[in-house]
Subunit: 292 residues, 2 copies
């Protein structure tokens, strides 16, 4: 139907008239996406029934969010994060068979060129924090060890900051490393127990969180990308269940299956065996890779 | 229900978990609006199933739209306009009894201090364009003339530009004026036939329009704000039905009831009576005010 056969715009036919204008869109996907966006946008407006002042508040919120974005800060991604959209898009793009490790958001702190280490290396380069051993196995969905899997790990320090947020304070590549599994599929490395931290809250997204009675914290976690040719790459975190924010991650990254256990170890012989002085945290977590 | 009783975020319960975090919102309206926004946003994402690359294109579109906004340009309002949201919000806020004049969008070119004139004044200060007489009556919903109604009119010139867009080219306050009705409720003034024009199309919103196979034009129109104490203020346009874009206004401002007739008058005695040389356009349009 030609767009003008729908008649002029009215409150009732608004979404159909707007989407009807896209009959000559160059790209079928763009046309489809904008039809869906228009339909849900109009449905939301009809349900909200905003006053002109509320509409202008919305315009100003989006404008301020745009103005906050620069080469270092992406406030629209932050908005997507706190509204659960980033996690939803991740979930849609990483549906896996039952039993396979689940994804969560990548986050902005991954770097591509972290150093490669032998198993057992301590990725904490400044000895600050409570010592932690992380270990486990990479298997396929049938439980067979995956040899040659790449494990890319990164985490915040015990004050909740990544190295890239504290250039000159933390050593470069602090708490980052890349490991490769051997024939038994196991991995292990040393680090320090991570701490929860706040997402940037000094912009319009922070103001929105506070208006909604929410906090900006992410519970303590370690990031992993586990990959091997022929398998679906897993971008994920493992979380500390004792963290005060475990049930209220500001970006909704926590999944039941990604909760690890941080076990305190203080038996002298075990502590000594691992080369620590006093005590350490033991974290065991296995990853299961699904075929591509 | 406490937010964590909903469990962790999943693809299925995503909108409920996100909105469930707002239990302690300071303002009930903000909470309500964000519940509706979240629900429709997640429904749209689930229907679109964007790839990560498409999601990033969306983020970048919003960022570019924000970066285009400054003191002189409001690209998010433009986005709202071309998606029919501005018209929808206007429609929701100006529901009137049948027979009353309908609203349409205000647009960005109104100024608050246009000169007051006697009826019959020519608001075209530079004599450029085809002469036009605009006339009609302001009545209430029972057909009784409204005395002392204020008619604030403004329009683009015969090249499609408002005075404020051509400072130094057009005289200040060209094609603007304020009139007040007498006891009979009638009004009339002289102007020139307006021309269609393009909304700003050099930003991301223009790029979106072209990607959708749409054009950026608004059909020729005159703007009116008709007001009188005790009546619902009417912010509207009247449109030229001969305009090539009458069925495809880029901001969806056209309503059936706002289409005027632009009648050519060339009978020598009529032309002479109005003080023109050759011919002129006669536009008759009545406004009906609803009680507040």
């Amino acid at each position: 139907m030609e767009s003008h056969e729908l008649g002029y715009f009215t409150e009732e036919n608004s979404a159909e008239v707007v989407a009807g204008r896209n009959a000559n869109a160059k790209d079928a996907r763009v046309k489809q996406v904008m039809e869906i966006v228009t339909r849900h946008l109009h449905a939301a407006i009809k349900e909200i029934e905003p006053t002109q002042e509320e509409w202008m508040e919305g315009i100003q919120f989006l404008t301020k969010t745009g103005h906050k974005c620069d080469d270092w800060r992406q406030e629209f991604i932050l908005l997507s994060d706190v509204l659960g959209v980033s996690m939803l898009v991740d979930a849609i793009n990483s549906r896996r068979p039952k039993g396979a490790s689940e994804n969560t958001v990548l986050g902005p702190f991954h770097v591509g060129d972290a150093p490669e280490y032998e198993m057992g290396t301590d990725i904490c380069l400044d000895q600050k924090g409570e010592p932690m051993v992380v270990r486990g196995r990479i298997t396929d969905i049938d439980g067979k060890p995956v040899e040659g899997a790449k494990i890319d790990v990164w985490q915040a320090n015990d004050e909740g900051f990544y190295d890239v947020q504290q250039k000159g304070i933390q050593p470069d590549f602090n708490l980052r490393g890349v490991f490769h599994t051997g024939a038994d599929g196991t991995y292990w490395f040393r680090a320090v127990r991570p701490k929860h931290y706040s997402i940037p809250d000094d912009g319009p997204v922070g103001a929105l969180l506070y208006a909604l009675g929410r906090h900006p914290y992410r519970p303590a976690h370690l990031h992993f990308i586990v990959s091997k040719d022929g398998y679906d790459e897993v971008t994920t975190h493992i979380f500390d269940p004792e963290d005060p924010y475990i049930h209220s991650d500001s970006v909704f990254g926590v999944k039941e299956s990604l909760i690890a256990e941080f076990k305190p170890v203080d038996q002298p012989e075990k502590v000594q065996e691992m080369g620590y002085e006093d005590k350490y945290w033991d974290v065991e977590f296995d990853f299961v890779l699904a075929p591509k």
